[in-house]
């Protein structure tokens, strides 16, 4: 196993960070977050066109970079660090991974090159109330030579931005994947804990759909869920590192009772604990990303491992960042709260930590 980045991977990180420093600074993130779409289309275009990082896990034959999950994790880490308001998780992770995990060559050839360029946005609609990862209660009915879908998917990552939705639904033969045009569904932008990540409710009512070829639709769903979890953990790692830096930097300059607050053990030791979590989590994330590329058998455990670790760790770090900033950190104008909300929201997005632990126990055979 390899847990250290190569020079190329480090260069990739530097390039993404440069772009985000320039294009996803706090003011830009806030502007996007308060905009109607909640996203920054220009940044998205640059990620696709200028940096070409939307298809890192996509083979070259479909227009991708043919790199891997370690590289994608590096990008996701930077996006999480900046809270960059893009549909990356929906399009470059969920939908891309689904197309790669399914066996529908036609859909791959048609969609992947356009996802990689950023020109098309897609997502996966799988979550339903009480069932974050399963076909839920959405049904598919054969209709002529196609299908129609009925059900409600929520929350759908990038659901209000996507042009194409890949939907999991129940057919008489079991769960299957379908492709749906965004124009054919009802979408509601949801109220969210995290103002920097839009989520939508998608209602399917007799929505026309094309079934996607798959030898093992349930297995593909599992793979998509596991890889999305790893990608999300990378985002959490980046956010955790950022709040640690913010809090550490502030603790060096903020004075109370004649001393920098970082000289007090209450703050110093709290930050040391956050730093330890960062070091440990970084190691686990690198392992999970490595496994996604090189050791598919280890992905189920590795994915549940990072999910269980990062949810509480990132939130604890974000909380510490608010706390050590004191009243300033509690204001809207300081960025600490954006990370606090992102951290809690990410911890729960695919299921609460208790469910992550239960999933890990399943996979460990406990």
């Amino acid at each position: 196993m390899r847990l250290v980045l190569t020079q190329e991977q480090q260069a990739l990180r530097a390039a993404v960070r440069d772009l985000l420093t320039d294009r996803a600074a706090s003011a830009q993130v806030r502007a996007a977050m308060e905009s109607e779409t909640g996203t920054d289309r220009d940044l998205w275009t640059r990620l696709g066109r200028d940096l070409d990082v939307l298809g890192l896990v996509v083979p070259e034959e479909y227009g991708g970079a043919g790199a891997g999950h370690v590289e994608r994790a590096v990008v996701q880490e930077e996006l999480g660090r900046a809270l960059a308001p893009t549909p990356f998780l929906g399009s470059a992770v969920l939908a891309t991974d689904a197309l790669l995990a399914l066996d529908d060559e036609e859909a791959r050839r048609e969609l992947l090159p356009r996802l990689v360029s950023g020109e098309l946005i897609a997502t996966v609609a799988v979550a339903e109330r009480g069932a974050p990862w399963g076909p839920g209660a959405t049904t598919a009915t054969a209709s002529g030579d196609g299908w129609t879908l009925d059900g409600t998917k929520t929350p759908v990552v990038a659901g209000d931005l996507a042009d194409v939705l890949l939907v999991v639904a129940i057919t008489p033969d079991g769960p299957a994947w379908f492709r749906v045009d965004a124009a054919d569904v009802e979408r509601t932008t949801l109220a969210t804990l995290d103002p920097t990540r839009r989520l939508a409710k998608v209602v399917l009512r007799g929505t026309p759909a094309r079934k996607l070829e798959s030898a093992d639709p349930a297995g593909a769903l599992e793979r998509v869920a596991d890889l999305a979890t790893v990608a999300l953990a990378a985002e959490q790692l980046g956010g955790l590192q950022r709040v640690l830096e913010m809090a550490t930097d502030y603790a060096k300059v903020r004075v109370q009772f004649g001393r920098a607050i970082g000289s007090y053990q209450a703050v110093k030791h709290g930050l040391a604990d956050v730093h330890s979590d960062w070091e440990l989590g970084l190691s686990a994330l690198r392992y999970a990303a490595w496994a996604a590329d090189e050791a598919p058998d280890e992905v189920p455990v590795a994915s549940a491992l990072v999910a269980t670790f990062f949810g509480p760790a990132y939130f604890k770090a974000a909380e510490a960042c608010v706390q050590y900033h004191g009243g300033i950190g509690y204001t809207w104008e300081h960025d600490a709260h954006l990370y606090y909300k992102r951290a809690k929201s990410t911890e729960l997005l695919f299921g609460a930590p208790g469910r992550d632990r239960a999933r890990l126990a399943d996979r460990l055979g406990v």
Binding site: A127, R129, G130, P132, T154, P155, T188, T189, L190, A191, T192, L193, D194, L199, K201, Y250, V253, R254, V255, Q256, F257, G258, R259, A260, Y264, A266, V267, P312, E319, V322, Q323, G326, G327, I328, G329, Y330, T331, W332, E333, H334, A336, H337, Y340, K341, K344, S345, E347, L348, L349, F350, G351, A352, P353, G354, R355, A358
Partner: protein
Amino acid sequence: MTAATTIATGSPPDLDAFREQARAWLREHAPAPSPVTDIEAARAFQAALYDAGFAGITWPQDVGGRGLSTAYQQAFSDEEACYELPTYPFTIGLGMCGPTVNDLGTPEQRTRYLPRLLRGEDIWCQLFSEPGAGSDVASLQTRAVLDGDSWVVDGQKVWTTNAQWADFGALLARTDPDRPKHSGLTMFVVDMHAPGVTVRPLKDMSGRAPFNEIYFDSVRIPADAVIGEVNGGWHAAVTMLGHERVSIGSRRRPKTNPLDFTAITALARRLGVSGEPATRERLAELYVRERVLELFNVRLRQEAAAGIAPGARGSVAKLAGSMLARLAVDTVGEIAGPEIVAWDPDDATGAAVALGINSTPSSSIAGGTNEIQRGIIGDRVLGLPKEPSVDRGVPFRELKVGTQA
């Protein structure tokens, strides 16, 4: 009116009779809950309280109070706990500023300010905290310079509740930077409508704006507006903070908390997970933390009634309350999962839970951070040795304060 009659006679009413009067009066006069922003309603209600003899129950009679013991105040507080009275805009004035003026003010100041406060004519705010002076209030940088027979104030205050409505503020400013930080402060009454005072709402991380920032730009304050002594402001501040502690302790708690045991249990039932073993353990743990704190508060009240002073143990309650709030955030997340990440815009529960989650950090920051509370418990209750002080006796102008790049 019965109560007013009692004032006239000067002899203290029977406590049970007083309680009965309060109950009867409140039953008849307590208004339906109104938005906290309806200031005129609040003023009118405060005036009605005054007329009925329920304002300034423990305040001296010469400034319009009843001159009764705290037992009477407690009796009234017990009774009013059943209502949501519109008294919020007066909490700072009646709970903190008024008592301090009463303790330290000149006869003229007492007569000028206190009766108006009781009658709901003036709203007050407290102007201590600054962006650079939070836990360490005495390091504040707002300065007041004597110019002829008035003081000229420049600086910025922050975290000021009620300032958007306030007529007066109790301002702590630095009047001598050559003295050590605690010795060069003075407390003033500042007219919030004076030229040069700017009040701006300050939005917190929950998206609400319960606080204000106040800017002082060459604001002139007459010399007779000093409360206590010039350069004796720290003593005045400590006096006021002592009243604040009492005031916070008796302050009304919100009647509904979306993150308490009852609310989260109901949510778990609605989501159909209340029977899961993990949910049950988590709810039990939340119940324990909530209940032990409640019982601790009962014990403190019983001890107070038995004449045992709470000492610094209010810090235990504050700390435990903050840890409870923190636990509740974890608990609701574990139980509700994705349900509280996103919700239909018209779903009030989702919004209430999110507000709860986003308000929780204030419980470990506002009114003294958890770190400060633990220090108080360690120093004052356990008697542990203090940390070495690096600023004792050093002239303020030589100190590092605020944020040092």
